[in-house]
């Protein structure tokens, strides 16, 4: 069982010619890598606050509701952000994706307070893009998590190349912080596992965002760790399943 907890709604240019388009093509790609379930985020909607992008993701995922898990996004600076979160979740979104760098906010600005409270009440996780200064550092996101201890807060890239050391520190500091180490260098990932364990690690590839090879590469990174089978299973699917259980409670 593999859950890819970080994929983006692919533009048509993403698909290899031998695959179909739309959800069928995306699932065919997942099948080639043994990926059973994907959390799906918008791509265009990170640059454009039109709430219809959330509906597009939901419709895409409706093609295979047991395999494609829709996430929504909102622009925290806009006055209707919390309302849009509620609307999208009532319509079927299972989590929130935020990209502070593209969407132009800091994770600890005042406008984030109401969103955090709403997430806690809804009981859904939030995935942040991270690793890109000035607005997406792991410790900024960890500070948001500390303010909202009931919300599972997920670093979407594990600090990328430059800030993975900061991601390790943030994970050691804050219990409700989780991580998809999709941008952590291989040697950094080894240290992340050694220092934090696999209990808050999720597999995620960033597939859909540019290159169909992402899943191949990211799975190779995980398998090169040569984890015990039970730890690898926790990382590849167990933790993501846990976060999707409505009664999981807070850690």
């Amino acid at each position: 069982m593999i859950i890819d907890a970080h994929t983006h709604l692919p533009p048509d240019s993403f698909y290899p010619p031998e695959l179909g388009r739309g959800p069928e093509g995306f699932l065919a790609l997942c099948d080639t890598h043994g990926v059973d379930v994907a959390w799906v985020f918008t791509t265009a909607g990170l640059n454009d606050p039109d709430p219809r992008h959330n509906d597009v993701v939901r419709a895409f995922c409706a093609a295979a509701p047991d395999r494609l898990v829709p996430f929504c996004t909102v622009f925290p600076h806009l006055s209707g952000a919390v309302d849009e979160l509620h609307r999208a979740v009532e319509a079927g979104a299972r989590g929130l994706k935020l990209h502070p760098w593209l969407q132009g906010f800091s994770p600890i600005e005042p406008c984030m307070d109401d969103l955090g409270t709403a997430l806690e009440a809804l009981g859904i996780p939030v995935v942040f893009h991270d690793g890109t200064p000035p607005n997406s550092s792991p410790l900024q996101i960890a500070a948001f998590a500390e303010r909202h201890p009931g919300v599972p807060v997920i670093l979407g890239h594990g600090g990328l190349h430059d800030l993975w050391v900061e991601a390790v520190a943030a994970l050691q500091r804050v219990d409700n912080l989780w991580v998809i180490p999709s941008g952590t260098p291989p040697a950094g990932l080894r240290q992340l596992v050694d220092q934090v364990g696999t209990g808050r690690l999720l597999f995620g590839s960033d597939a859909g965002f540019g290159d169909p090879h992402w899943q191949t590469f990211q799975l190779s990174k995980i398998r090169d760790l040569r984890l015990r089978p039970e730890d690898e299973a926790t990382l590849l699917s167990g933790n993501a399943q846990l976060l999707m259980q409505p009664d999981r409670g807070s850690r």
Partner: protein
Amino acid sequence: MTDVIDGHRHLGRGVDTVDDLDHLLADMDAHGVARTVLIPTDREIAVDNRAGNDAMLAAATTHPDRLLPMATVNPWFGAQAVAELRRAVYAGAVGLKLHPALQGFVLCHPMVHPLIAECQTLGVPVYVHTGTPPYAQPLQLVELARTFPKVTFVMGHAGSTDLKADAIPAAHLAANVVVETSWSLPARLRQLVETYGAHRVMFGSDAPLSSLGLELANHRAADLSAPDAAEVFGGTAQRVFGGGASS
């Protein structure tokens, strides 16, 4: 596969990574890499330049046909840095590596110019880590390359990841810049080859922070044409670093 040259790999003990010569050579053998450009690690890049340069030179002496030593000096050492660069190149170093984020300077600041002028005199290329704002940006490298058009510059990691977009327009701003491709996935590598031309693109692993095996797998999945692959996996590095008999 042609004679693969790894254009960028660190040797030694860093704060987060470690690699020794025996492992490095075994890793090269396991993945069919003929030659590797050696770079010092972490504190040797930041402050202990001479120790790092001597370690690279000594390692290369053991396998001169397979290992190409790069020197690094921190521009903050001023005239002392220029002297150390000259010493290392006379001892066999094939170029200068700069890491503006780790060494703490703005890449296009005039304080760097004496070092680049020395590289021009010595006839060696300058490899620069890029991709870590605010100090290691592709367009800062372009600015430096335009100031020294006779020097060949290598854009390390091609701006990955934060500034990878900037590496594309940079191709047309300075013809004396080539890119090193560690951290590239297949579509990105194809984009760099299309933009720069394969003769301005070189493979690098950035091991041991990255993994030679994973990087080669990513690069080979790009399915480059045979002539392009020959450039990326060896030809470009051969010309830039001048290692080997045919240079």
